[in-house]
C-alpha cells in the first residue's frame, strides 16, 4: 500500500482559516459540503452562544445543520413530560399520605408537597420541551445525515448515507394526535432518529434518505 505519511496537521493549521498547505485534498467538484473560504462555524458552537470568539474565516468545518423540527414538537414533548410529572406527583402523594397516616405529618405538607412537585415539574416539563425544540437541528445532505441536539450534553452526529441500512417512520398515539411522525434510520452499529416531523415531511425525509442511501455497498 502506497500510504505515504499523512498525519494530522499541526494544531495551528487545523485551527487557522483557509486551506492549509499540508492538505492532500485537491479541489473536489462533488464536495458539496464546505466551500473553502465560505464562512462556517464549529458545529457545536453554532447553537450555543457561550463560545466566545469564533473566527468566521474558518472553512475546515461542516456548517451546522439548519432544518428544524415541526413546531408542534413543543406541545408533544410538553404532554410527554407532563405524563412523567403526573407519575412523580402520584409518588409524592403516596409518600406524604403515608407519612400523614403513620408519622403525623401536618396536612399542609401532605397537600403542599405534591402541589409544589406539580408546579415545579410542570415548569421543568415546559422549559425542557421548549429548549429542546429550539436546539434540535437536522440536515439531509447528499452524502450524510447531520443531526444536532441535546440540552445538557450537545451531540453533533454525522451518518454517511452509504452506511444506512434501512429507514422507516413511526407514529405513537400522541404523535398521531398531533399529526407528527418520527423518522428512524439504522446503520450496522445502532439506530438514530429525527423526531416530531409533520407526517408529510417525515415521509418526504424518509424517502429522501432511502433514495440517497440506495447506493448500497458491502460492509
Amino acid at each position: 500500500m502506497s500510504d505515504r505519511p499523512h498525519a494530522a496537521p499541526p494544531a495551528t493549521a487545523r485551527n487557522a482559516g483557509g486551506q492549509p498547505s499540508w492538505s492532500a485534498v485537491p479541489p473536489d467538484p462533488d464536495q458539496d459540503v464546505v466551500v473553502a473560504g465560505e464562512a462556517s462555524w464549529p458545529g457545536l458552537a453554532a447553537a450555543y452562544e457561550v463560545w466566545p470568539e469564533v473566527d468566521a474565516t474558518q472553512a475546515r468545518f461542516i456548517p451546522p445543520p439548519e432544518k428544524r423540527l415541526d413546531p408542534k414538537a413543543k406541545r408533544l414533548w410538553i404532554i410527554n413530560n407532563l405524563i412523567g410529572v403526573v407519575i412523580f406527583v402520584a409518588i409524592a402523594v403516596a409518600i406524604t399520605l403515608l407519612l400523614h397516616r403513620w408519622r403525623d405529618l401536618a396536612m399542609t405538607w401532605t397537600v403542599g408537597v405534591p402541589v409544589a412537585v406539580a408546579v415545579v415539574g410542570s415548569g421543568i416539563a415546559w422549559a425542557d420541551a421548549v429548549v429542546r425544540y429550539r436546539i434540535w437541528r437536522y440536515e439531509i445532505r447528499a452524502d450524510e445525515v447531520d443531526l444536532m441536539h441535546g440540552l445538557i450534553t450537545r451531540r453533533r452526529q454525522l451518518v454517511p448515507m452509504a452506511r444506512i441500512q434501512h429507514v422507516d417512520t413511526r407514529q405513537g398515539p400522541l404523535e398521531r394526535h398531533y399529526g407528527l411522525a418520527t423518522v428512524l434510520f439504522y446503520t450496522a452499529e445502532g439506530g438514530m432518529e429525527i423526531p416530531a416531523l409533520s407526517v408529510e415531511h417525515a415521509a418526504e425525509v424518509r424517502n429522501q434518505i432511502a433514495a440517497l442511501a440506495k447506493v448500497h455497498d458491502d460492509l
Binding site: 464536495q31 468545518f61 445502532g190
Partner: protein, 540 residues
C-alpha cells in the same frame, strides 16, 4: 464505498474466472446433517434436561414404595429417550443447501423454519468441536452474517462430517469472494487462495508457545471472574460445613491469630483464583494458531472445545490492541479485531486476533495478517488533547474515589464495625492519589491520528491502554458531544462507531480541543475520504 476501495487497492490484473460463479455448492440439492448428529444433538437436549430432572427427582424423594421409586428412576430414563428422539427428529427434518447465491437451511418439525442467507452477507465461518464430536469426526458449523448482534443473524449446523464441513466452508468462502462485487480484490483473492475447494495450507502467522500461554493466563483479566467463582464456591462450602464446627472455632480469642488466619485464607484463595485463571486461559487458547490463506484469516484454538474461525479480510472493521496494566510493564499485549459478525459466544475469545503477543511484534503481525490496517507512522506521533483538558481527566477520578473512601469510613464508623477510627480504614485514602495518577495516565494516553486512509484512537481505561485502528470508510457514524462544562472550556468528546456484532463498536475520546473534534468530523466526510484516497492512489 466501492469507489473508496478501488481507489485504495491497486487495480488487480487478475481476470475474473468466468465459469466460477455458476458452480453451485455441490449441485446435489438439499443435504442432511451427519447421522451421528442424532447423538450429539440428543446429548445437548439431555444437558438441558438435567437440571429439571434432578429437581423433579429430589422433590419426589425416595419412599419405601417400590412403584414410586421405579417412577422416580424412570424420569431420567424417559428424559434420555426423549432426547434421543428429539435428536433424531432434528436430524430427520434438517436440510441445508448451498446454491451459487445463498445458503438455505431448513429446520424444525413442529414449526418449520427456513432461513436463507445471501452469500455476500456472510461475515465469518466458525467450526467448533467438543471432545465427543472430535471423537466422532463431527464439526459444528456456525455461519455468521452482518445483522448487528441479532441472535438470528447466525446459522448453526449442528453436526457435519469433517469433510462435508470443510467443503462447505471452502465453497462458502469462494462463492463469497465471487459474489462480493464491491470487493475490488475478490478475483485476486480467489486466485491466491487456490480457486475453489481447498484453501491450502496457508501461512502461519502466529503460534502461542506454552510459555506464552502460561504467561497469558498469569496476566489475564480472568482473575476477577475466577475470584468471583471461588467466592461463590466458598459461600457454598461454608454452608455445607456443619454448624457445630463453626461453633468450635474460638472466634473471640482469635484476635491476633484470627487476623493472620484470615490473611492466610485470603492469600490461598487469591492463589487459587490465579490458578483458575491460568487454567481457563489454557483451556481456551491452547494450541492457538493464526494462519492466513490469501484473503482469509483462520484462527484456531482450544484444548477441549476446538474452535476454528475463518474471517474474510474484507470483513474486518477495525483492529484494537490492548495492553493491560499487568501486561504493559512486561511489554505484552493482545490484538483484537472488530468484525460485524461477532455474536455472543465466549466474549473473551470471539474478537481475538492474537491473545498474547510482544508489543514490539504487533506491527509486524498486523502487517502480515491485516495489511489494510497498517498505519504508516508510529503511534507516538498522535495528536493529544490540550493541556487544559488534563484536569478533566484527573478531577472526576479523584472526586469519585474520595467519595468512595469517605463512604467506606462512614460505614465503618456508623455501624461500629471497628472500634473508633482505625488507621487502616483511613488508609483506604491511598486510593485517592492512585486515582489521580490513573487520571494523569489516561490524559497522557489519550490521542488520535488521521491519515489519508486510517483513523487511530488511543485511550486508557482502568484495565489498560487501547489503540484502535480503523479505515476511514469503515466508520458507521461519528459524532462529537460536549456537556455544559466542556462547552465552557471549548472541549468536546469525539465518538466513532464501527460495525460490530457485539455492543463494543463505539469508541470515544474525551476532552479534545473542540475545534479538533469538529475538524475530525469534517475531515471524515465521505467526500474528503474519497479525495484523500484518490490523492494517495494518484501518487502511488
Amino acid at each position: 464505498m466501492t469507489s473508496d476501495l478501488t481507489a485504495n487497492v491497486p487495480a488487480s490484473p487478475a481476470p475474473v474466472n468466468p465459469d466460477a460463479p455458476d458452480r453451485s455448492g455441490d449441485g446435489g440439492g438439499p443435504r442432511r446433517l451427519h447421522p451421528l448428529s442424532i447423538v450429539t444433538t440428543g446429548l445437548r437436549y439431555l444437558r438441558g434436561l438435567i437440571l429439571p430432572v434432578i429437581v423433579v427427582m429430589i422433590s419426589r424423594g425416595f419412599s419405601g414404595n417400590r412403584v414410586e421409586n421405579a417412577v422416580t428412576f424412570g424420569i431420567p430414563l424417559a428424559a434420555a429417550v426423549l432426547s434421543v428422539i428429539g435428536g433424531a427428529f432434528h436430524w430427520a427434518f434438517s436440510r441445508y443447501e448451498l446454491t451459487d447465491r445463498e445458503l438455505e437451511v431448513k429446520t424444525g418439525f413442529v414449526s418449520r423454519q427456513q432461513r436463507v442467507v445471501p452469500v455476500e452477507r456472510i461475515q465469518a465461518v466458525d467450526f467448533e468441536e467438543a471432545p465427543l464430536e472430535r471423537m466422532l469426526g463431527l464439526v459444528r458449523v456456525r455461519v455468521e452474517t452482518a445483522a448487528s448482534g441479532h441472535e438470528h443473524a447466525r446459522i448453526e449446523l449442528n453436526a457435519l462430517g469433517r469433510r462435508d464441513a470443510e467443503a462447505l466452508r471452502a465453497q462458502l468462502l469462494t462463492l463469497r469472494a465471487h459474489a462480493g462485487h464491491a470487493d475490488a480484490d475478490a478475483p485476486a483473492a480467489t486466485a491466491e487462495s487456490g480457486g475453489t475447494a481447498d484453501l491450502g495450507a496457508g501461512e502461519v502467522l502466529y503460534r502461542l508457545s506454552l510459555r506464552d500461554l502460561l504467561l497469558a493466563g498469569a496476566t489475564s483479566g480472568r482473575v476477577g471472574p475466577a475470584a468471583a467463582v471461588i467466592g461463590v464456591a466458598v459461600q457454598f462450602g461454608t454452608d455445607l460445613v456443619p454448624r457445630s464446627w463453626w461453633d468450635r472455632v474460638p472466634w473471640d480469642s482469635a484476635t491476633h491469630a484470627g487476623v493472620q488466619a484470615i490473611v492466610a485464607v485470603v492469600i490461598v484463595l487469591g492463589l487459587l483464583a490465579w490458578a483458575l485463571a491460568i487454567g481457563s486461559t489454557v483451556l481456551t487458547f491452547a494450541g492457538f494458531e493464526l494462519t492466513r490463506h490469501g484473503r482469509q484469516l483462520v484462527i484456531r484454538h482450544g484444548l477441549l472445545d476446538r474452535k476454528r474461525r475463518t474471517i474474510p479480510l474484507q470483513r474486518i472493521q477495525a483492529i484494537v490492541t490492548i495492553e493491560t496494566l499487568l501486561r504493559q510493564p512486561f511489554g505484552f499485549g493482545e490484538v483484537r479485531i472488530e468484525s460485524a459478525g461477532q455474536v455472543g459466544g465466549d466474549e473473551n475469545a470471539s474478537g481475538v486476533l492474537v491473545p498474547f503477543i510482544r508489543t514490539r511484534d504487533m506491527p509486524a503481525l498486523i502487517a502480515a495478517a491485516t495489511p489494510e490496517f497498517v498505519v504508516p507512522w508510529d503511534a507516538t506521533a498522535l495528536e493529544h488533547p490540550p493541556k487544559r483538558a488534563a484536569q478533566r481527566y484527573i478531577v472526576p477520578q479523584v472526586v469519585w474515589t474520595a467519595v468512595f473512601c469517605l463512604a467506606v469510613n462512614l460505614v465503618f464508623w456508623r455501624w461500629d464495625i471497628v472500634d473508633g477510627i482505625q488507621w487502616w480504614t483511613l488508609a483506604v485514602g491511598v486510593l485517592v492519589p492512585l486515582a489521580a495518577l490513573l487520571g494523569w495516565m489516561e490524559y497522557r494516553a489519550a490521542g488520535w491520528g488521521l491519515t489519508s486512509a486510517h483513523l487511530v484512537l488511543r485511550w486508557r481505561t482502568l484495565t489498560g491502554r487501547n489503540v484502535l485502528v480503523t479505515r476511514r470508510q469503515r466508520l458507521q457514524h461519528r459524532s462529537t458531544t460536549a456537556n455544559v462544562f466542556q462547552r465552557r472550556a471549548r472541549l468536546a468528546t469525539f465518538h466513532a462507531a464501527v460495525a460490530s456484532g457485539r455492543v463494543g463498536g463505539h469508541f470515544a475520546l474525551p476532552h479534545l480541543e473542540a475545534r479538533d473534534a469538529d475538524w475530525l468530523l469534517a475531515e471524515l466526510q465521505p467526500a474528503r475520504t474519497r479525495a484523500a484516497l484518490r490523492g494517495v492512489a494518484g501518487e502511488g
